[in-house]
Symmetry: C2
Subunit: 151 residues, 2 copies
């Protein structure tokens, strides 16, 4: 079930969306950590027990990457592609544990036209990645480059 295809000019501030959920396995958590964040509290249960987290946790960058995938898969921005120019105020607010089920809530908070370019704009979207207990594990403001609908 895909969301309707929309362009920059067809979103309004206050628009919201929510993605499908995704459950992170321990295997996928460790595979990411091995490749991109090889720290003991992501890879070794004993070391994790002695860490500030007290248990195995997923890399925060994997949470960010899963958030991206869920948004791409939702189709909400497929008309123009999910092309981020930057992220503001990214915060990791709670640990993500292997076995957690994540989904993403989005809200358009600002639309910024490009000076002198009617066919483009930047949409600022507040993203909250939440777990199965409705705890926000990560929040951010994504700046996404968008096209207006081709005339």
């Amino acid at each position: 079930m895909k969301l309707p295809e929309r362009y920059f000019d067809e979103f309004v501030v206050g628009d919201t969306f929510e993605t499908a959920p995704f459950t992170l396995s321990e295997k996928e958590s460790m595979a990411f950590a091995h490749l991109y964040d090889p720290q003991p509290f992501h890879l070794d249960p004993e070391a994790a027990a002695a860490s500030p987290f007290h248990e195995l946790v997923a890399s925060g960058w994997q949470t960010a990457a899963i958030t991206m995938r869920l948004i791409v898969q939702s189709g909400v921005l497929r008309a123009t592609g999910v092309i981020g120019t930057g992220i503001d105020d990214l915060r990791w607010l709670a640990p993500v544990l292997p076995g957690d089920t994540l989904r993403v809530r989005g809200e358009v908070v600002e639309k910024v036209p490009w000076p002198g370019k009617k066919e483009r704009g930047t949409m600022r979207i507040r993203l909250q990645t939440v777990n199965q207990n409705d705890v926000v594990v990560m929040s951010q403001i994504a700046n996404v480059m968008m096209r207006t609908r081709p005339s």
Copy 2:
């Protein structure tokens, strides 16, 4: 060659570091995109040619993940672990192409003690991820939780 082990109280504002370089293969670029950013301009050369990038580019989130790995591997923060609480002003400034060689430059820009907790602090580090032509492809301010040296 690892950098010396240092704690929160042993860094000063203005300290800099630089990581080893890493060359991103097309295979690794596509593997990440398949998993976390399945958009045509990351996966299909023909679609990429027709995209705003005009060629295959790596996912910006992979650049962020590689940046993390290079910092972890450098050892610069190994005394207390690389535990980020958040990121400010992340900007993707130039595309990363398969075949590019990335390295990371860091500079401590602020040290923020934790109220009422002498054994912890937050270090704000400006990170620039640069390619083989010295072009900054990604910049960010990382907020990293650190410990003071155990007495």
